[in-house]
Homo-oligomer: 263 residues x 2
């Protein structure tokens, strides 16, 4: 069945992963449709987290929040199940990674609230469609991500610095990369910084804090976008009793077209 995965529509992809197969990253599946990141928290943390998102919308663009205890996703995937439709999950207790299961149905509780967060896959699709090269896709690597010295605005128990993703862009295409992604604020939107990495506390582009390094060619500038790892890092720092996320690269494939996320 995996052989045909790339031919499936979003509902088909979700049904596939709900069947508990060998997990795989979702990059490239159901092209043209949004994918979403996940953070599940007990309700006691929900307000603080939503406030953190409200105060840091570029790093934490919330696409949907479930009702406490509910697993359905009326906006992103009406027939979806947030506890089973991601290919792989990560379970943290007191901020420490405990397990990496294919489903979290067995952990479900009536007080869990799921936050679905916009993913840069959507704007990378828009960049490529606009003719802007995306280096880590060209080089078949994960996007390089870096901790910065840019503080997020704190909210309740959540605080931390911004994590950014970096894509090298030729100088002549920087304006197009900015305007293209600026039209998609629900999936991180415009970059936060262009050029000198040291100015935002990044010592060495060749050594990302997450993901893989990529080639930067002469005439290219490093362009930095707020990254969805930011809220995960902020959450883990506060060591909540329970937190569930997707495993990196293993997203929810949604019914919402990327085009519908254009501003």
């Amino acid at each position: 069945m995996t052989a045909n995965l790339s031919a499936l529509n979003p509902a088909g992809v979700r049904a596939h992963f709900r069947g508990d197969p060998e997990p795989r990253p979702t990059a490239g599946l159901a092209p043209g449709y949004a994918q979403a990141n996940l953070i599940i928290l007990p309700q006691e943390y929900a307000y603080d987290f939503l406030l953190f998102a409200q105060r840091n919308p570029q790093a934490c663009p919330v696409l949907e929040v479930t009702e406490a205890g509910r697993r359905d996703l009326p906006f992103l995937a009406p027939d979806g199940d947030v506890a089973r439709d991601f290919p792989l999950y990560r379970v943290y207790r007191d901020g420490v990674l405990q397990s990496e299961p294919r489903s979290v149905e067995h952990l479900w509780r009536s007080d869990l609230v799921s936050f679905l967060i916009g993913c840069s896959f959507s704007f990378e699709w828009a960049l490529q469609r606009a003719g802007v090269p995306v280096r880590h896709i060209e080089e078949n690597r994960n996007v390089p991500m870096y901790l910065t010295n840019i503080p997020c605005r704190s909210a309740g128990v959540f605080s931390g610095n911004m994590v950014v993703s970096m894509r090298p862009i030729p100088g002549r295409l920087v304006p197009l990369a900015v305007t293209t992604t600026a039209r998609m604020p629900r999936v991180h939107g415009a970059p936060i910084h262009v050029g000198d990495p040291a100015a935002i506390g990044i010592a060495d582009l060749g050594r990302p804090d997450f993901g893989d390094a990529v080639t930067v060619y002469p005439g290219e500038l490093p362009v930095f976008w707020p990254c969805g790892v930011t809220p995960q890092a902020a959450v883990m720092q506060s060591r909540p009793g329970l937190a569930i996320t997707h495993a990196p690269g293993h997203m929810l494939v949604c019914d919402v077209p990327n085009d519908a996320l254009m501003g």
Copy 2:
């Protein structure tokens, strides 16, 4: 009367210059209102020029074109007179500067067509309002402008390379500078290039081809916008029998608010 010039509205500024006073640049007059560049050509060149503008809209954003022989400006300044309301004109014959009169009423012919072209003053106003510093204004100089190796698309007798203006922008403000100016395509719009000057054929930022050099501080990137000098340069290169332009910095102050030029 000049002492009170800064208190006048656009119609008042135009009436002042129509009175044939000592000329002065229009920067800072009637703040919040658009100013326009001028190229007047005999009708035989009008189609080629309009086609050049259509093919190079970022460098040559046409705000208004008069009927042949007419001097009124229904869109930009309904009570205006294109032959008298600029503070200072330049008259070229066969591509050679002949005179710099305060009015071109005495040269008027029934076959002259006036092209009013958007001016970067409008987007600089938007940049400053958005909190993006504009260095040459801070340093009380003319904006630095450079010939590039970027070819314009030719049209009839008109061709040439793009002239760009440069503003140094801190890396963290480059995205805001791009999105702010991108919303104003009728006054040049988004930049054409960010970073390395050599990539677009500029050997030395400290030696602009027009205007004045400005300070570039550490952490700032040179950001290059298409410049209204581009069409002037393309026109002069083709040595038309007669061409009339405004003298640099001596624009038409229009009744159209900059806000009305936002996309």
